[in-house]
Symmetry: C2
């Protein structure tokens, strides 16, 4: 099996580590604009060798794992040069623009639009880890547009990585993911900003911040290069979630200003059910 | 050694578990208004036996670990009945009101105002765990108001639990902690609310929420009974942090509406230094 990964970072790198583990006979080829990332990926054993787009005609599987703005350019180019039976994944955090851009491509049926909901706040080849996708959800969009035989192979691979599969149309995907992923990143970045701005003397943060702050601000370590194009592509949905979030925060602030502590108690209690929801996530892994 | 813990939850319970581990000869007595918590704490072996306020005269150490509004009533009562050499800790997340309420108490010198910055999102006796304070910071306020001999004993105990000690005046404590703890809780609760409100069908959250959302919303599992009085006592500071947070979120939303992606990139990049700050927290443990 010949596998090509274009953009060797957290998601693409982790995916090929799993593939190599499941299929030791597979050869993993890397393509990356960033020469030092490519060299690092080879040195770390994440990929076996470098490749170019010319090699994709004989590839069994191409994984496109680049920032979502770059994917809009790279994916059509990939589809232009692959073979009849090459499967192509693209794993970005927005799905409508990418599905639109290849909607009429002659090789649309070789492409599977996926979003494996997995990750850490780290990036680059050194962030790749085996088992990242175990127990995680993989959203597949427009599955009906992919050739059945290639669908089957892809599903088998996702399942062998331990992923749960869910099907969704691209618009619903982008709307929902704005709430459970994109908004979390902004809330975290702006929390980090608020505290950093206040505490000019960083020693104070470091002395008083506990695990609660650390957990809430973790996503503020994420890569701006990855997240800026996500916010661009999902602009309208993200602005909408942000409006609702700001409105909820403003109402909470009003309750504090009015010293309405019964209402504050009730607000928090009604959100406490997030416990059961999150527990559900784990039970149903 | 006779130790009494008043309010046997996450903090008080974890503290006596450590004490029992470090001093196996110690007898741990529990006092709790909640009969079922008391019974549960005994059944779990967190405390050895139940006690009453009448027993405090012969206690070596009393730990007051109740919600901060209850502490304002309980701590003076405790100081009324303890012996000459009894040490009293109180471990709440606000320090100005409690320090004011006992400022002129005849036994002020037996009291150490502390805030061990440790915790999880769980509560009650079953949340108590050994080693919770290892590597964590303990803020002590107005240390000069405690008898030197009792200070020494308390510090020895905190250090044997693995805590780093920092001294701070109550007002500075309450101001700083609003940023690194109280605000995180509100940002998390309101994030949970925003998503729950949107996703009436909880299945959607559960299907699409990844570890990023889980981390950011973790604090929304926290106890409203504990947090409402904290927000009440630190109202002014919390409102101020919330204003700054809302203002930063609104500016970010404006950048999105104006499609100023260079500025969005720069915003995120400037907050990325939170990485080094959080790493510093761990290195200097």
């Amino acid at each position: 099996m010949k596998v090509h990964v274009i953009g060797i970072g957290l998601i693409g790198g982790s995916m090929v580590l799993d593939i190599k583990n499941l299929h030791p006979e597979a050869t993993i080829y890397g393509i990356d604009n960033n020469e030092s990332h490519l060299a690092e990926a080879i040195a770390l054993g994440v990929v076996d060798a470098a490749a170019t787009f010319d090699d994709l005609a004989t590839s069994d599987l191409v994984i496109v794992s680049v920032p979502v703005d770059v994917a809009l350019i790279v994916l059509p180019k990939v589809l232009d040069v692959i073979g009849d039976n090459t499967i192509v994944f693209e794993v970005g955090s927005t799905k409508s623009p990418i599905c639109e851009v290849v909607a009429n491509h002659l090789r649309r049926r070789n492409y599977i639009a996926t979003h494996p909901i997995a990750g850490t706040e780290f990036s680059g080849p050194s962030a790749a880890i085996r088992g990242l996708f175990e127990g995680k959800t993989n959203i597949i969009c427009e599955v009906e547009k992919t050739t059945f035989k290639l669908q089957e192979k892809a599903l088998e691979l996702f399942k062998s990585m331990g992923m749960r599969i869910r099907y969704m149309d691209p618009k619903s995907h982008d709307k929902h993911i704005a709430y459970v992923s994109h908004l979390s990143h902004i809330s975290s970045f702006m929390l980090g900003k608020t505290v950093i701005n206040k505490e000019k003397d960083e020693q104070d943060i470091f002395d008083m911040a506990g695990s609660g702050f650390e957990s809430t601000v973790r996503l503020a370590k994420s890569s701006p290069a990855m997240w800026t194009p996500i916010f661009k592509q999902n602009n309208k949905q993200v602005v909408k979630t942000l409006e609702e979030y700001i409105s909820n925060l403003s109402k909470f602030k009003e309750l504090l200003e009015n010293e309405d502590y019964d209402a504050i108690y009730n607000e928090m209690q009604s959100v406490n059910k997030i416990k059961e929801i999150l527990n559900g996530m784990h039970i149903k892994k």
